[in-house]
Amino acid sequence: MLSAPLNIGFDYTRSLGPVLGRFMAGLRDRRVLGSRSADGRIHVPPLEYDPATHAPLTDLVEVASTGTVLSWTWTDHPLEGQPLDRPFGWALIRLDGADTAMLHAVDAGTRDRMQTGMRVHIRWSPERTGHIRDIECFEPGSAAPVPPSADTGEPVTIMTTPIRLSYTHTTSTDESRYLRALAEGRLLGQRCPVCHKVYVPPRVCPADGVPTEEEVPVRDHGTVTTFCVVNVPFPGQRLDPPYVVAQILLDGADIPIPHFVIGDAGQVRMGMRVAAVWRPPEDWTTTPENIVHFRPTGEPDAPYESFEEHL
């Protein structure tokens, strides 16, 4: 079965609201704020709503930048995005003055320096923007606190969080066979043993829930069943608008595929006959991108009744 990387990434913009906004503004100014719930407990990181009464929490109070490790573990091989790129400890840390613990990294150097009950203090990031990562990490010991910077007063409303993930995308054996045929310049369909419809690309028949089996060659000519003219730009586009995306019913197939129709674009119409335009054969690989787009053939239009069932 064929597989390939799928990488996704986006810089998420998190709006914070009143409580988290003040918390993040505090971090920027080297202050840690907690929220006080109705029972008098101080929550760090702050809760936005009281766990017992459900009322919004508005009373934020400052706690110390030193604290105690309640639990810990050790990371020998940090993962992408974690606070440190060398071995470090994760810890649940209760800051002095707080009643709850926060999770963060401890730059302890070696595992044997980590222990429950150890004292730690915040190492502030030199570049602070109002983000949880304004705390670069914690360090062992109760160092003299760094005085907070002068309150800049600028509220923090949004924090940006990049999320990058890497996956391996794996196709089915049927789809792999289809892709290998494409690498040879052939279009391969498969017929459902129940409804006898020909699917291209082959797949489990969505109507019957059984794998399609019998291989059926499909022609690289077909009929535009319907289409749209894309005039709007958006991220990830391959062509500059305007361009035509059509549903094309390939000769021999029972389900249309979407593709570009280029050439005579203003004349694209339902029923228009089109043919695939392939990349040069030396560029063929196991990808549908071997077909660059479709072009009008100039044949007479297919009658509406011939594709009416595929709208």
Binding site: M1, Y12, M24, H43, W90, L92, I132, R203
Partner: protein, 357 residues
């Protein structure tokens, strides 16, 4: 309208493997559906309601569950729903649907290719997106913080954890679907101190399907395990907010489900050894209760179907006559945040749908 009696009448799963199947899950699900329905003596057209559990973040794509519908053969159209949770909660939705009289039969399924991404890093996205997830704490490290709290508090011991691993792997020897079997090396290196490799579930690809039926439909099935109590609860997530050595949501769910004290078997969804120990305490399970004869999640943990598979494994114990009364448990979220309890009986009794009363 009297409350219908509902039973599990069929279960099937795909082998738990380190890497298998497509990202979409469709090809894996087709034979699993076929087997589950065959066990239940039903045709797919007999299924009134389909319900699935999965997560887009396993595949790295929005709407990844949509494709899986293709495995059903959903034309003519079907009555169907989906939860972005372990399929154990899809099971709950289907159970309620039957109780409401809106269906008599249901097929519940879960699927996911856990190996498609780096699972323990992907799961960091379940944590608070403002103050925790931006640090990317991985799921094994989060579990380790919980384990140390329990060790430090003297609630569990490393020896007891190793015993859980050894028992699970020994039991998995008889489970053809298990991914991990064999002896435990108690000196294995730490994955995340104090968790060693055998304390942690493997990363598993897989799928599972379970068939439910009520009343006459259940009685007509070749075999059945009556559901006599189901409930689930969730705790706050804040890892430093709650006492991670207790599992209040599991305790509350057990109480709401009417967990009996004469269980023969319990299938607990504990992806880490210490979590089994915490769950046994939270549920008040006596020593005579046989825990995880399947080997449990420690020997195969396909995300989003492993919880459903615990219910399925418990039901198989009852349907095969090996147990008279069994518990299926599922968990979701970091550090046992959310828990579901399902009690299965060889015979019906009046306690069913207990939460309703």
């Amino acid at each position: 309208m009297s409350t219908p009696r509902v039973a599990v009448v069929g279960f099937a799963q795909a082998p738990n493997l380190a890497s298998a199947g497509t990202t979409s899950g469709v090809e894996t699900l087709v034979p699993v559906f076929r087997q589950a329905l065959a066990n239940a003596g039903l045709d797919r057209r007999d299924v009134d309601f389909w319900c699935s559990g999965s997560s887009d973040y396993l595949a790295g794509r929005a709407f990844s569950f949509v494709n899986a519908v293709d495995a059903i053969g959903a034309y003519p159209p079907i009555c169907e729903s989906h939860v972005e949770m372990d399929a154990a909660w899809a099971f709950y939705e289907a159970y309620v649907k039957i109780l409401a009289g809106e269906a008599e039969t249901a097929l519940v399924y879960g699927f996911g290719k856990s190996s498609a991404g780096l699972l323990r890093r992907v799961l960091a996205l379940q944590l608070d997106p403002y103050v925790v997830a931006p640090l990317w704490p991985d799921s094994v490290s989060v579990a380790a913080l919980q384990a140390r709290l329990a060790l430090d508090a003297g609630i569990i011991t490393e020896k007891a954890m190793a015993e859980v691993a050894a028992r699970s792997r020994a039991d998995a020897a008889d489970n053809p679907y298990a991914q991990v079997r064999g002896p435990v090396d108690t000196d294995a290196p730490y994955l995340a101190d104090p968790l060693r490799v055998h304390d942690c579930a493997p990363v598993s690809d897989g799928a599972a399907a379970l068939v439910l039926a009520s009343g006459d439909c259940a009685l007509a099935a070749p075999q059945r395990a009556w559901i006599t109590g189901v409930a689930h609860r969730i705790d706050p997530q804040g890892l430093g907010e709650r006492d991670l050595t207790t599992v209040p949501s599991a305790t509350a769910a057990a109480e709401a489900a009417g967990l009996p004290d004469d269980l023969d078997v319990a299938e607990l969804h504990a992806p880490f050894t210490h979590q089994e120990l915490l769950l046994r305490a939270a549920l008040g399970l006596r020593d005579r209760v046989r825990i995880n004869p399947s080997g449990g999640a420690l020997c195969g943990n396909p995300m989003f179907s492993a919880g459903l598979a615990r219910i399925g494994a418990a039901a198989e114990q009852v349907m095969s006559g090996r147990a008279r009364r069994a518990l299926g448990h599922a968990t979701s979220g970091p550090a046992l945040q959310q828990n579901l309890i399902c009690v299965l009986d060889a015979e019906t009794h009046e306690a069913e749908g207990r939460e309703a009363e």
